[in-house]
Assembly symmetry: C2
Homo-oligomer: 318 residues x 2
Protein backbone atom coordinates (compact mmCIF):
# COMPACT_ATOMS: atom_id res chain seq x y z
CA UNK A 1 0.00 0.00 0.00
CA UNK A 2 1.31 3.38 -1.00
CA UNK A 3 1.49 6.01 1.70
CA UNK A 4 1.19 9.62 0.56
CA UNK A 5 3.50 12.25 1.92
CA UNK A 6 1.92 14.49 4.55
CA UNK A 7 2.02 18.19 3.70
CA UNK A 8 2.11 20.60 6.65
CA UNK A 9 1.07 24.21 6.16
CA UNK A 10 0.86 27.14 8.58
CA UNK A 11 -2.58 28.04 9.93
CA UNK A 12 -4.71 30.75 8.28
CA UNK A 13 -5.17 33.45 10.89
CA UNK A 14 -6.59 36.24 8.80
CA UNK A 15 -9.14 35.78 6.01
CA UNK A 16 -10.69 38.60 3.96
CA UNK A 17 -14.12 38.31 2.34
CA UNK A 18 -14.52 41.10 -0.22
CA UNK A 19 -17.63 42.22 -2.09
CA UNK A 20 -18.37 45.09 -4.45
CA UNK A 21 -14.94 45.03 -6.14
CA UNK A 22 -17.23 45.51 -9.13
CA UNK A 23 -19.97 47.80 -7.89
CA UNK A 24 -22.79 46.30 -9.95
CA UNK A 25 -22.15 42.64 -9.01
CA UNK A 26 -24.74 42.63 -6.29
CA UNK A 27 -24.52 39.22 -4.57
CA UNK A 28 -21.19 40.12 -2.99
CA UNK A 29 -22.34 43.63 -2.14
CA UNK A 30 -25.39 42.41 -0.22
CA UNK A 31 -23.60 39.42 1.31
CA UNK A 32 -20.75 41.50 2.76
CA UNK A 33 -23.27 44.09 4.01
CA UNK A 34 -25.14 41.24 5.71
CA UNK A 35 -21.93 39.82 7.21
CA UNK A 36 -21.01 43.25 8.54
CA UNK A 37 -24.33 43.29 10.43
CA UNK A 38 -23.68 39.89 12.00
CA UNK A 39 -20.95 40.64 14.53
CA UNK A 40 -21.02 37.32 16.33
CA UNK A 41 -23.23 35.14 14.24
CA UNK A 42 -23.08 31.87 12.39
CA UNK A 43 -20.33 33.07 10.10
CA UNK A 44 -17.83 33.34 12.94
CA UNK A 45 -18.86 30.71 15.40
CA UNK A 46 -15.26 29.58 15.53
CA UNK A 47 -14.40 32.66 17.54
CA UNK A 48 -16.41 31.31 20.41
CA UNK A 49 -14.42 28.12 20.55
CA UNK A 50 -11.42 27.82 22.80
CA UNK A 51 -8.63 28.53 20.39
CA UNK A 52 -5.35 30.14 21.17
CA UNK A 53 -5.67 32.57 18.31
CA UNK A 54 -9.18 33.06 16.93
CA UNK A 55 -9.73 33.37 13.18
CA UNK A 56 -9.99 36.97 12.08
CA UNK A 57 -12.44 37.52 9.22
CA UNK A 58 -12.18 40.92 7.54
CA UNK A 59 -15.29 41.91 5.60
CA UNK A 60 -14.52 44.47 2.96
CA UNK A 61 -16.68 46.50 0.58
CA UNK A 62 -14.01 47.09 -2.01
CA UNK A 63 -15.38 49.86 -4.25
CA UNK A 64 -17.98 51.90 -2.35
CA UNK A 65 -18.14 54.66 -4.96
CA UNK A 66 -18.90 52.24 -7.81
CA UNK A 67 -21.43 50.46 -5.57
CA UNK A 68 -23.21 53.74 -4.93
CA UNK A 69 -23.52 54.33 -8.67
CA UNK A 70 -24.27 50.65 -9.33
CA UNK A 71 -21.53 50.53 -11.95
CA UNK A 72 -18.63 48.15 -12.45
CA UNK A 73 -16.18 50.97 -11.72
CA UNK A 74 -16.00 54.74 -11.65
CA UNK A 75 -12.78 55.48 -13.58
CA UNK A 76 -11.04 52.17 -14.25
CA UNK A 77 -11.51 48.48 -13.41
CA UNK A 78 -10.39 48.12 -9.76
CA UNK A 79 -9.79 44.41 -10.29
CA UNK A 80 -6.99 45.18 -12.77
CA UNK A 81 -5.18 47.66 -10.48
CA UNK A 82 -3.07 45.34 -8.35
CA UNK A 83 -0.24 44.39 -10.70
CA UNK A 84 2.39 46.93 -9.76
CA UNK A 85 0.71 47.99 -6.56
CA UNK A 86 3.94 47.63 -4.57
CA UNK A 87 6.03 49.86 -6.76
CA UNK A 88 3.67 52.83 -6.92
CA UNK A 89 5.03 55.83 -5.10
CA UNK A 90 2.60 57.72 -2.83
CA UNK A 91 3.49 61.05 -4.43
CA UNK A 92 2.27 59.86 -7.81
CA UNK A 93 -1.26 59.46 -6.48
CA UNK A 94 -2.02 62.82 -4.92
CA UNK A 95 -3.00 64.54 -8.16
CA UNK A 96 -6.67 65.08 -8.93
CA UNK A 97 -6.28 63.30 -12.25
CA UNK A 98 -5.52 59.92 -10.67
CA UNK A 99 -8.34 57.43 -11.27
CA UNK A 100 -10.38 56.74 -8.15
CA UNK A 101 -9.72 53.00 -8.36
CA UNK A 102 -5.93 53.54 -8.34
CA UNK A 103 -6.28 55.33 -5.03
CA UNK A 104 -8.71 52.74 -3.69
CA UNK A 105 -6.38 49.88 -4.71
CA UNK A 106 -3.64 51.40 -2.57
CA UNK A 107 -6.01 51.64 0.39
CA UNK A 108 -6.98 48.00 -0.07
CA UNK A 109 -3.33 46.97 -0.39
CA UNK A 110 -2.61 48.76 2.88
CA UNK A 111 -5.60 47.05 4.50
CA UNK A 112 -5.10 43.50 3.20
CA UNK A 113 -1.46 43.44 2.04
CA UNK A 114 1.08 44.61 1.35
CA UNK A 115 0.95 42.24 -1.61
CA UNK A 116 3.82 39.78 -1.60
CA UNK A 117 4.85 40.60 1.98
CA UNK A 118 4.60 38.66 5.22
CA UNK A 119 2.07 41.13 6.64
CA UNK A 120 -0.56 40.27 4.02
CA UNK A 121 -3.74 38.43 5.02
CA UNK A 122 -3.53 34.66 4.64
CA UNK A 123 -6.48 34.30 2.29
CA UNK A 124 -8.58 36.67 0.15
CA UNK A 125 -11.97 35.51 -1.13
CA UNK A 126 -13.24 38.11 -3.58
CA UNK A 127 -16.92 37.81 -4.52
CA UNK A 128 -18.05 38.28 -8.13
CA UNK A 129 -21.00 37.70 -10.43
CA UNK A 130 -21.11 37.01 -14.13
CA UNK A 131 -23.86 37.16 -16.73
CA UNK A 132 -22.43 33.88 -18.10
CA UNK A 133 -23.96 30.54 -17.16
CA UNK A 134 -20.92 29.45 -15.15
CA UNK A 135 -22.40 28.18 -11.91
CA UNK A 136 -19.93 28.69 -9.05
CA UNK A 137 -16.27 29.01 -10.03
CA UNK A 138 -13.15 29.59 -8.04
CA UNK A 139 -10.67 31.53 -10.16
CA UNK A 140 -7.03 31.52 -9.07
CA UNK A 141 -3.56 32.17 -10.45
CA UNK A 142 -2.24 28.80 -9.32
CA UNK A 143 -3.23 25.27 -10.29
CA UNK A 144 -1.38 23.78 -7.34
CA UNK A 145 -2.27 26.04 -4.41
CA UNK A 146 -3.08 23.40 -1.83
CA UNK A 147 -5.34 25.73 0.20
CA UNK A 148 -7.44 26.95 -2.75
CA UNK A 149 -7.82 23.46 -4.24
CA UNK A 150 -8.88 21.89 -0.95
CA UNK A 151 -11.40 24.67 -0.32
CA UNK A 152 -12.74 23.98 -3.81
CA UNK A 153 -13.13 20.26 -3.12
CA UNK A 154 -14.85 21.03 0.20
CA UNK A 155 -17.36 23.34 -1.53
CA UNK A 156 -17.99 20.75 -4.25
CA UNK A 157 -18.78 18.14 -1.63
CA UNK A 158 -20.96 20.43 0.49
CA UNK A 159 -22.93 21.93 -2.43
CA UNK A 160 -23.56 19.00 -4.78
CA UNK A 161 -26.46 20.75 -6.56
CA UNK A 162 -24.36 23.70 -7.77
CA UNK A 163 -22.23 23.19 -10.90
CA UNK A 164 -18.71 24.05 -9.73
CA UNK A 165 -15.37 24.52 -11.51
CA UNK A 166 -11.84 25.58 -10.69
CA UNK A 167 -10.39 28.03 -13.23
CA UNK A 168 -6.68 28.72 -13.46
CA UNK A 169 -5.32 31.92 -15.03
CA UNK A 170 -1.68 31.16 -15.74
CA UNK A 171 -0.20 34.50 -14.71
CA UNK A 172 2.93 34.93 -12.64
CA UNK A 173 2.60 36.41 -9.19
CA UNK A 174 4.34 39.54 -10.46
CA UNK A 175 1.81 40.05 -13.21
CA UNK A 176 -1.27 39.11 -11.17
CA UNK A 177 -3.69 42.00 -11.32
CA UNK A 178 -6.74 41.27 -9.17
CA UNK A 179 -7.64 42.05 -5.58
CA UNK A 180 -7.34 38.41 -4.49
CA UNK A 181 -3.63 38.51 -5.48
CA UNK A 182 -2.96 40.72 -2.45
CA UNK A 183 -3.37 37.81 -0.01
CA UNK A 184 -0.89 34.97 0.59
CA UNK A 185 -3.57 32.77 -0.93
CA UNK A 186 -6.57 34.04 -2.83
CA UNK A 187 -9.30 33.39 -5.34
CA UNK A 188 -12.33 35.00 -6.88
CA UNK A 189 -15.62 33.27 -6.17
CA UNK A 190 -17.58 33.90 -9.37
CA UNK A 191 -21.27 32.98 -9.60
CA UNK A 192 -23.64 33.24 -12.55
CA UNK A 193 -25.76 33.71 -14.46
CA UNK A 194 -26.99 36.96 -12.98
CA UNK A 195 -27.43 40.29 -14.79
CA UNK A 196 -25.21 42.99 -13.35
CA UNK A 197 -27.28 45.42 -11.27
CA UNK A 198 -29.67 42.63 -10.26
CA UNK A 199 -29.77 40.43 -7.16
CA UNK A 200 -31.26 36.98 -7.69
CA UNK A 201 -32.10 35.18 -4.47
CA UNK A 202 -30.79 31.76 -5.53
CA UNK A 203 -27.44 33.24 -6.57
CA UNK A 204 -27.18 35.16 -3.30
CA UNK A 205 -27.99 32.02 -1.31
CA UNK A 206 -25.37 29.98 -3.19
CA UNK A 207 -22.73 32.62 -2.53
CA UNK A 208 -23.66 32.80 1.15
CA UNK A 209 -23.36 29.03 1.45
CA UNK A 210 -20.06 29.04 -0.46
CA UNK A 211 -18.54 31.62 1.87
CA UNK A 212 -19.82 29.78 4.95
CA UNK A 213 -18.33 26.46 3.77
CA UNK A 214 -15.07 28.21 2.92
CA UNK A 215 -14.83 29.63 6.44
CA UNK A 216 -15.80 26.26 7.93
CA UNK A 217 -12.99 24.61 5.99
CA UNK A 218 -10.49 27.18 7.28
CA UNK A 219 -11.58 26.31 10.82
CA UNK A 220 -11.16 22.56 10.16
CA UNK A 221 -7.77 23.27 8.68
CA UNK A 222 -6.68 25.47 11.59
CA UNK A 223 -7.80 22.86 14.10
CA UNK A 224 -5.28 20.42 12.62
CA UNK A 225 -7.61 18.24 10.55
CA UNK A 226 -5.78 15.88 8.19
CA UNK A 227 -7.17 16.11 4.63
CA UNK A 228 -6.94 13.15 2.26
CA UNK A 229 -5.19 13.59 -1.06
CA UNK A 230 -7.58 13.72 -4.00
CA UNK A 231 -8.00 14.91 -7.55
CA UNK A 232 -9.46 18.13 -8.94
CA UNK A 233 -10.37 19.07 -12.53
CA UNK A 234 -8.63 22.34 -13.35
CA UNK A 235 -9.62 24.52 -16.32
CA UNK A 236 -6.59 26.50 -17.46
CA UNK A 237 -7.38 29.56 -19.59
CA UNK A 238 -5.72 29.30 -23.01
CA UNK A 239 -7.08 32.23 -25.00
CA UNK A 240 -9.86 34.76 -25.49
CA UNK A 241 -12.05 35.19 -28.57
CA UNK A 242 -13.49 38.60 -29.47
CA UNK A 243 -16.78 39.31 -31.22
CA UNK A 244 -16.72 39.92 -34.97
CA UNK A 245 -16.60 43.70 -35.34
CA UNK A 246 -17.12 46.31 -38.01
CA UNK A 247 -13.65 47.36 -39.14
CA UNK A 248 -14.55 51.05 -39.09
CA UNK A 249 -16.92 51.55 -36.17
CA UNK A 250 -15.62 48.64 -34.04
CA UNK A 251 -19.27 47.86 -33.25
CA UNK A 252 -19.95 44.15 -32.85
CA UNK A 253 -21.65 42.56 -35.86
CA UNK A 254 -22.70 39.25 -34.31
CA UNK A 255 -23.89 37.72 -31.05
CA UNK A 256 -22.80 34.42 -29.51
CA UNK A 257 -24.52 31.65 -31.43
CA UNK A 258 -27.67 30.25 -29.77
CA UNK A 259 -26.08 26.76 -29.78
CA UNK A 260 -23.14 28.07 -27.74
CA UNK A 261 -24.93 30.58 -25.48
CA UNK A 262 -25.18 29.26 -21.87
CA UNK A 263 -23.03 26.19 -22.69
CA UNK A 264 -20.09 27.27 -20.54
CA UNK A 265 -17.69 24.36 -19.88
CA UNK A 266 -19.23 22.16 -22.62
CA UNK A 267 -16.46 21.24 -25.12
CA UNK A 268 -16.31 23.45 -28.22
CA UNK A 269 -15.11 21.48 -31.24
CA UNK A 270 -13.59 22.77 -34.50
CA UNK A 271 -16.41 23.87 -36.86
CA UNK A 272 -18.98 24.18 -34.04
CA UNK A 273 -21.18 27.31 -34.34
CA UNK A 274 -19.57 30.26 -32.56
CA UNK A 275 -21.44 33.43 -33.58
CA UNK A 276 -24.61 34.40 -35.39
CA UNK A 277 -24.27 37.68 -37.26
CA UNK A 278 -27.03 40.27 -37.00
CA UNK A 279 -27.89 39.51 -40.62
CA UNK A 280 -28.38 35.82 -39.73
CA UNK A 281 -25.15 34.12 -40.84
CA UNK A 282 -23.49 31.39 -38.73
CA UNK A 283 -19.76 31.75 -38.02
CA UNK A 284 -17.87 28.66 -36.85
CA UNK A 285 -15.02 27.91 -34.46
CA UNK A 286 -11.81 27.63 -36.48
CA UNK A 287 -9.51 26.33 -33.76
CA UNK A 288 -7.79 23.00 -34.33
CA UNK A 289 -8.53 21.32 -31.00
CA UNK A 290 -11.60 21.05 -28.76
CA UNK A 291 -11.44 23.44 -25.80
CA UNK A 292 -13.79 24.41 -22.97
CA UNK A 293 -15.52 27.80 -23.36
CA UNK A 294 -16.34 29.97 -20.34
CA UNK A 295 -17.30 33.57 -19.62
CA UNK A 296 -19.55 33.17 -22.69
CA UNK A 297 -21.20 36.55 -23.41
CA UNK A 298 -20.10 38.17 -20.14
CA UNK A 299 -21.49 41.72 -20.12
CA UNK A 300 -18.37 43.43 -18.74
CA UNK A 301 -16.07 41.89 -21.33
CA UNK A 302 -17.62 43.55 -24.40
CA UNK A 303 -15.37 46.54 -23.70
CA UNK A 304 -12.38 44.25 -23.13
CA UNK A 305 -12.87 42.56 -26.51
CA UNK A 306 -13.76 39.15 -25.09
CA UNK A 307 -16.82 37.24 -26.30
CA UNK A 308 -15.68 34.07 -24.54
CA UNK A 309 -12.56 32.46 -23.09
CA UNK A 310 -11.29 28.97 -23.85
CA UNK A 311 -9.68 26.57 -21.42
CA UNK A 312 -7.92 23.23 -21.42
CA UNK A 313 -9.06 20.74 -18.78
CA UNK A 314 -6.64 18.68 -16.74
CA UNK A 315 -6.96 16.52 -13.66
CA UNK A 316 -4.71 17.67 -10.82
CA UNK A 317 -3.68 15.34 -8.02
CA UNK A 318 -3.62 16.91 -4.57
CA UNK B 1 -76.15 35.30 -37.58
CA UNK B 2 -74.74 38.44 -36.04
CA UNK B 3 -72.84 40.73 -38.36
CA UNK B 4 -70.14 42.88 -36.76
CA UNK B 5 -69.80 46.52 -37.61
CA UNK B 6 -66.95 47.28 -40.00
CA UNK B 7 -64.41 49.80 -38.64
CA UNK B 8 -62.60 51.91 -41.22
CA UNK B 9 -59.34 53.60 -40.31
CA UNK B 10 -56.95 55.77 -42.32
CA UNK B 11 -53.82 54.13 -43.74
CA UNK B 12 -50.51 54.24 -41.86
CA UNK B 13 -48.10 56.11 -44.11
CA UNK B 14 -45.22 56.72 -41.75
CA UNK B 15 -43.95 54.21 -39.20
CA UNK B 16 -40.96 54.76 -36.89
CA UNK B 17 -38.88 51.89 -35.51
CA UNK B 18 -36.73 53.16 -32.63
CA UNK B 19 -33.88 51.44 -30.79
CA UNK B 20 -31.46 52.58 -28.12
CA UNK B 21 -33.97 54.74 -26.26
CA UNK B 22 -32.22 53.03 -23.36
CA UNK B 23 -28.59 52.82 -24.44
CA UNK B 24 -27.82 49.47 -22.77
CA UNK B 25 -30.82 47.56 -24.16
CA UNK B 26 -28.88 46.07 -27.00
CA UNK B 27 -31.37 44.13 -29.16
CA UNK B 28 -32.95 47.35 -30.41
CA UNK B 29 -29.59 49.05 -30.83
CA UNK B 30 -28.23 46.29 -33.07
CA UNK B 31 -31.52 45.73 -34.88
CA UNK B 32 -31.94 49.39 -35.88
CA UNK B 33 -28.25 49.53 -36.90
CA UNK B 34 -28.90 46.49 -39.08
CA UNK B 35 -32.07 48.02 -40.57
CA UNK B 36 -30.18 51.20 -41.37
CA UNK B 37 -27.72 49.11 -43.42
CA UNK B 38 -30.52 47.46 -45.41
CA UNK B 39 -31.71 50.28 -47.65
CA UNK B 40 -33.90 48.18 -49.91
CA UNK B 41 -34.05 44.82 -48.24
CA UNK B 42 -36.63 42.45 -46.87
CA UNK B 43 -37.82 44.94 -44.29
CA UNK B 44 -39.18 47.30 -46.92
CA UNK B 45 -40.18 45.11 -49.79
CA UNK B 46 -43.51 46.90 -49.86
CA UNK B 47 -41.81 49.93 -51.37
CA UNK B 48 -41.19 47.98 -54.50
CA UNK B 49 -44.82 47.21 -54.97
CA UNK B 50 -47.03 49.46 -57.02
CA UNK B 51 -48.62 51.58 -54.38
CA UNK B 52 -49.74 55.12 -54.75
CA UNK B 53 -47.99 56.17 -51.58
CA UNK B 54 -45.27 53.81 -50.37
CA UNK B 55 -44.86 53.12 -46.65
CA UNK B 56 -42.17 55.25 -45.10
CA UNK B 57 -40.21 53.49 -42.33
CA UNK B 58 -38.07 55.77 -40.19
CA UNK B 59 -35.31 53.96 -38.32
CA UNK B 60 -34.15 55.91 -35.31
CA UNK B 61 -31.32 55.42 -32.81
CA UNK B 62 -32.91 57.39 -30.01
CA UNK B 63 -30.11 57.99 -27.50
CA UNK B 64 -26.72 57.80 -29.25
CA UNK B 65 -24.78 59.23 -26.31
CA UNK B 66 -26.17 56.64 -23.87
CA UNK B 67 -25.55 53.91 -26.45
CA UNK B 68 -21.93 54.97 -26.75
CA UNK B 69 -21.50 54.65 -22.99
CA UNK B 70 -23.64 51.48 -22.88
CA UNK B 71 -25.78 53.02 -20.15
CA UNK B 72 -29.55 53.38 -19.81
CA UNK B 73 -29.19 57.17 -20.00
CA UNK B 74 -26.62 59.89 -19.55
CA UNK B 75 -28.44 62.44 -17.36
CA UNK B 76 -32.06 61.33 -17.05
CA UNK B 77 -34.32 58.57 -18.41
CA UNK B 78 -35.16 59.62 -21.99
CA UNK B 79 -38.25 57.44 -21.93
CA UNK B 80 -39.79 59.63 -19.22
CA UNK B 81 -39.15 62.94 -21.05
CA UNK B 82 -42.16 63.15 -23.35
CA UNK B 83 -44.95 64.20 -20.98
CA UNK B 84 -44.92 67.94 -21.43
CA UNK B 85 -42.82 67.90 -24.54
CA UNK B 86 -45.23 70.21 -26.37
CA UNK B 87 -45.19 72.94 -23.79
CA UNK B 88 -41.42 73.26 -23.43
CA UNK B 89 -40.11 76.56 -24.74
CA UNK B 90 -36.94 76.41 -26.87
CA UNK B 91 -35.26 79.12 -24.80
CA UNK B 92 -35.45 76.97 -21.69
CA UNK B 93 -33.18 74.37 -23.25
CA UNK B 94 -30.18 76.34 -24.38
CA UNK B 95 -28.48 76.41 -20.99
CA UNK B 96 -25.58 74.03 -20.35
CA UNK B 97 -27.30 72.64 -17.28
CA UNK B 98 -30.16 71.09 -19.24
CA UNK B 99 -30.03 67.28 -19.12
CA UNK B 100 -28.92 65.78 -22.44
CA UNK B 101 -32.05 63.65 -22.69
CA UNK B 102 -34.31 66.72 -22.41
CA UNK B 103 -32.60 68.17 -25.47
CA UNK B 104 -32.68 64.83 -27.29
CA UNK B 105 -36.39 64.38 -26.53
CA UNK B 106 -37.10 67.70 -28.29
CA UNK B 107 -35.11 66.55 -31.31
CA UNK B 108 -37.07 63.29 -31.39
CA UNK B 109 -40.35 65.15 -31.02
CA UNK B 110 -39.39 67.35 -33.96
CA UNK B 111 -38.44 64.25 -35.98
CA UNK B 112 -41.41 62.00 -35.13
CA UNK B 113 -44.06 64.41 -33.79
CA UNK B 114 -45.04 66.93 -32.82
CA UNK B 115 -46.79 64.81 -30.20
CA UNK B 116 -50.56 65.18 -30.38
CA UNK B 117 -50.49 66.97 -33.75
CA UNK B 118 -51.51 65.89 -37.23
CA UNK B 119 -47.90 65.98 -38.44
CA UNK B 120 -46.84 63.15 -36.12
CA UNK B 121 -45.87 59.75 -37.54
CA UNK B 122 -48.72 57.26 -37.66
CA UNK B 123 -47.06 54.59 -35.56
CA UNK B 124 -44.03 54.42 -33.25
CA UNK B 125 -42.58 51.02 -32.34
CA UNK B 126 -39.96 51.57 -29.63
CA UNK B 127 -37.67 48.59 -28.95
CA UNK B 128 -36.75 47.63 -25.39
CA UNK B 129 -35.23 44.81 -23.36
CA UNK B 130 -35.86 43.75 -19.80
CA UNK B 131 -34.01 41.51 -17.36
CA UNK B 132 -37.42 40.11 -16.38
CA UNK B 133 -38.68 36.85 -17.85
CA UNK B 134 -41.45 38.56 -19.82
CA UNK B 135 -41.14 37.08 -23.29
CA UNK B 136 -42.35 39.57 -25.89
CA UNK B 137 -44.72 42.28 -24.67
CA UNK B 138 -46.37 45.18 -26.39
CA UNK B 139 -46.83 48.00 -23.88
CA UNK B 140 -49.30 50.74 -24.73
CA UNK B 141 -51.36 53.48 -23.09
CA UNK B 142 -54.61 52.26 -24.57
CA UNK B 143 -56.50 48.99 -24.15
CA UNK B 144 -58.69 49.72 -27.17
CA UNK B 145 -56.30 51.02 -29.81
CA UNK B 146 -57.47 48.99 -32.77
CA UNK B 147 -54.10 49.25 -34.59
CA UNK B 148 -51.94 48.18 -31.62
CA UNK B 149 -54.25 45.32 -30.65
CA UNK B 150 -54.45 43.92 -34.19
CA UNK B 151 -50.66 44.12 -34.57
CA UNK B 152 -50.40 42.21 -31.30
CA UNK B 153 -52.76 39.47 -32.51
CA UNK B 154 -50.83 39.23 -35.78
CA UNK B 155 -47.52 38.78 -33.90
CA UNK B 156 -49.10 36.18 -31.60
CA UNK B 157 -50.27 34.19 -34.60
CA UNK B 158 -46.99 34.50 -36.50
CA UNK B 159 -44.71 33.71 -33.55
CA UNK B 160 -46.50 30.93 -31.65
CA UNK B 161 -43.34 29.80 -29.83
CA UNK B 162 -42.75 33.16 -28.11
CA UNK B 163 -44.78 33.91 -24.95
CA UNK B 164 -46.54 37.17 -25.78
CA UNK B 165 -48.63 39.64 -23.77
CA UNK B 166 -50.29 43.01 -24.23
CA UNK B 167 -49.71 45.38 -21.30
CA UNK B 168 -51.80 48.47 -20.76
CA UNK B 169 -50.56 51.42 -18.69
CA UNK B 170 -53.68 53.41 -17.87
CA UNK B 171 -52.27 56.89 -18.36
CA UNK B 172 -54.02 59.71 -20.17
CA UNK B 173 -52.56 60.97 -23.41
CA UNK B 174 -51.61 64.18 -21.61
CA UNK B 175 -49.62 62.33 -18.97
CA UNK B 176 -48.02 59.77 -21.30
CA UNK B 177 -44.27 60.01 -20.90
CA UNK B 178 -42.57 57.62 -23.29
CA UNK B 179 -41.17 57.99 -26.80
CA UNK B 180 -43.92 55.86 -28.34
CA UNK B 181 -46.49 58.44 -27.15
CA UNK B 182 -45.20 60.86 -29.80
CA UNK B 183 -46.86 58.90 -32.65
CA UNK B 184 -50.57 58.81 -33.46
CA UNK B 185 -50.37 55.17 -32.42
CA UNK B 186 -47.48 53.64 -30.55
CA UNK B 187 -46.19 50.93 -28.32
CA UNK B 188 -43.01 49.64 -26.75
CA UNK B 189 -41.91 46.20 -27.88
CA UNK B 190 -40.28 44.79 -24.74
CA UNK B 191 -38.38 41.48 -24.84
CA UNK B 192 -36.72 39.57 -22.03
CA UNK B 193 -35.00 38.10 -20.20
CA UNK B 194 -31.74 39.65 -21.29
CA UNK B 195 -29.17 41.38 -19.08
CA UNK B 196 -28.68 45.02 -20.00
CA UNK B 197 -25.40 45.50 -21.85
CA UNK B 198 -25.67 41.99 -23.35
CA UNK B 199 -27.00 40.84 -26.74
CA UNK B 200 -28.45 37.34 -26.76
CA UNK B 201 -28.96 35.94 -30.24
CA UNK B 202 -32.37 34.40 -29.58
CA UNK B 203 -33.71 37.66 -28.16
CA UNK B 204 -32.33 39.62 -31.12
CA UNK B 205 -33.90 37.15 -33.56
CA UNK B 206 -37.30 37.37 -31.83
CA UNK B 207 -37.20 41.16 -31.97
CA UNK B 208 -36.22 41.14 -35.64
CA UNK B 209 -39.11 38.80 -36.43
CA UNK B 210 -41.51 40.90 -34.34
CA UNK B 211 -40.59 44.08 -36.22
CA UNK B 212 -40.84 42.32 -39.59
CA UNK B 213 -44.31 40.95 -38.79
CA UNK B 214 -45.40 44.37 -37.52
CA UNK B 215 -44.34 46.00 -40.81
CA UNK B 216 -45.99 43.19 -42.78
CA UNK B 217 -49.23 43.81 -40.92
CA UNK B 218 -49.07 47.53 -41.69
CA UNK B 219 -48.74 46.63 -45.38
CA UNK B 220 -51.74 44.27 -45.22
CA UNK B 221 -53.69 46.99 -43.46
CA UNK B 222 -52.71 49.67 -45.97
CA UNK B 223 -53.65 47.42 -48.86
CA UNK B 224 -57.23 47.34 -47.60
CA UNK B 225 -57.28 43.90 -45.97
CA UNK B 226 -60.38 43.25 -43.85
CA UNK B 227 -59.44 41.94 -40.39
CA UNK B 228 -61.84 39.76 -38.44
CA UNK B 229 -62.96 40.84 -34.98
CA UNK B 230 -61.37 38.82 -32.22
CA UNK B 231 -60.43 38.86 -28.56
CA UNK B 232 -57.19 39.83 -26.83
CA UNK B 233 -56.08 39.35 -23.21
CA UNK B 234 -55.01 42.72 -21.85
CA UNK B 235 -52.93 43.10 -18.67
CA UNK B 236 -53.69 46.47 -17.09
CA UNK B 237 -51.08 47.70 -14.63
CA UNK B 238 -52.62 48.25 -11.19
CA UNK B 239 -49.69 49.01 -8.89
CA UNK B 240 -45.98 48.69 -8.23
CA UNK B 241 -44.32 46.98 -5.24
CA UNK B 242 -40.94 48.17 -3.97
CA UNK B 243 -38.23 46.06 -2.34
CA UNK B 244 -38.07 46.01 1.46
CA UNK B 245 -35.48 48.64 2.34
CA UNK B 246 -33.41 49.69 5.32
CA UNK B 247 -35.13 52.74 6.77
CA UNK B 248 -31.86 54.63 7.17
CA UNK B 249 -29.67 53.69 4.21
CA UNK B 250 -32.55 52.90 1.79
CA UNK B 251 -30.52 49.87 0.68
CA UNK B 252 -32.67 46.89 -0.24
CA UNK B 253 -32.80 44.18 2.42
CA UNK B 254 -34.33 41.36 0.36
CA UNK B 255 -34.41 39.92 -3.14
CA UNK B 256 -37.43 38.66 -5.05
CA UNK B 257 -38.33 35.24 -3.63
CA UNK B 258 -37.05 32.26 -5.65
CA UNK B 259 -40.65 31.01 -6.02
CA UNK B 260 -41.64 34.29 -7.69
CA UNK B 261 -38.47 35.04 -9.70
CA UNK B 262 -39.02 34.45 -13.45
CA UNK B 263 -42.76 33.78 -12.93
CA UNK B 264 -43.92 36.90 -14.75
CA UNK B 265 -47.63 36.73 -15.66
CA UNK B 266 -48.29 33.74 -13.33
CA UNK B 267 -51.02 34.75 -10.84
CA UNK B 268 -49.72 35.94 -7.46
CA UNK B 269 -52.14 35.03 -4.67
CA UNK B 270 -52.46 36.55 -1.19
CA UNK B 271 -49.86 34.97 1.14
CA UNK B 272 -47.68 33.73 -1.75
CA UNK B 273 -43.92 34.26 -1.17
CA UNK B 274 -42.85 37.68 -2.42
CA UNK B 275 -39.34 38.37 -1.08
CA UNK B 276 -36.54 36.53 0.66
CA UNK B 277 -34.54 38.76 2.97
CA UNK B 278 -30.75 38.60 2.91
CA UNK B 279 -30.91 36.97 6.34
CA UNK B 280 -33.14 34.21 4.92
CA UNK B 281 -36.67 35.19 5.97
CA UNK B 282 -39.65 34.81 3.61
CA UNK B 283 -41.96 37.82 3.18
CA UNK B 284 -45.40 37.22 1.69
CA UNK B 285 -47.79 39.07 -0.60
CA UNK B 286 -50.34 40.87 1.55
CA UNK B 287 -52.73 42.02 -1.18
CA UNK B 288 -56.35 40.88 -0.98
CA UNK B 289 -56.81 39.68 -4.56
CA UNK B 290 -54.77 37.59 -6.98
CA UNK B 291 -52.97 39.75 -9.56
CA UNK B 292 -50.49 39.13 -12.37
CA UNK B 293 -46.87 40.16 -11.62
CA UNK B 294 -44.59 41.47 -14.36
CA UNK B 295 -41.30 43.36 -14.62
CA UNK B 296 -40.19 41.05 -11.78
CA UNK B 297 -36.68 42.08 -10.71
CA UNK B 298 -36.09 44.44 -13.65
CA UNK B 299 -32.59 45.87 -13.27
CA UNK B 300 -33.45 49.45 -14.21
CA UNK B 301 -36.31 49.70 -11.71
CA UNK B 302 -34.22 49.30 -8.54
CA UNK B 303 -33.62 53.07 -8.71
CA UNK B 304 -37.30 53.71 -9.40
CA UNK B 305 -38.36 51.73 -6.32
CA UNK B 306 -40.10 48.96 -8.25
CA UNK B 307 -39.39 45.29 -7.49
CA UNK B 308 -42.36 44.19 -9.60
CA UNK B 309 -45.59 45.51 -11.07
CA UNK B 310 -49.02 43.93 -10.71
CA UNK B 311 -51.72 43.75 -13.35
CA UNK B 312 -55.33 42.72 -13.70
CA UNK B 313 -56.16 40.56 -16.72
CA UNK B 314 -59.21 41.16 -18.88
CA UNK B 315 -60.33 39.87 -22.24
CA UNK B 316 -60.94 42.65 -24.76
CA UNK B 317 -63.15 42.18 -27.78
CA UNK B 318 -61.88 43.77 -30.96
Amino acid sequence: MEVDEVVCLPRLSRVAVCGGTHGNELSGVYLVRELLKVKKGVMEKEEEQEEEEPLSVLKVLSNPRAMQQCRRYVDTDLNRCFTHIVSLSPSGLTSGTVPYEMIRSRELNAMLGPKGRSGAVDLVCDLHNTTANMGLCLIAYSDCDWICLHIFRHLQRKMPDIPMRYIHFEVSNKESYSLDSVGKHGFAMEIGPQPHGVARSTVYTAMKAGVQHMLDWVCFFNSGTLFEGESVDVFTMIKHIDYPRDSETRNITAAVHPHLQDRDFCPLHPEDPLFQTFSGETLRYKGNEPLYPFFINECAYYEKGIALSLARKRRNQL
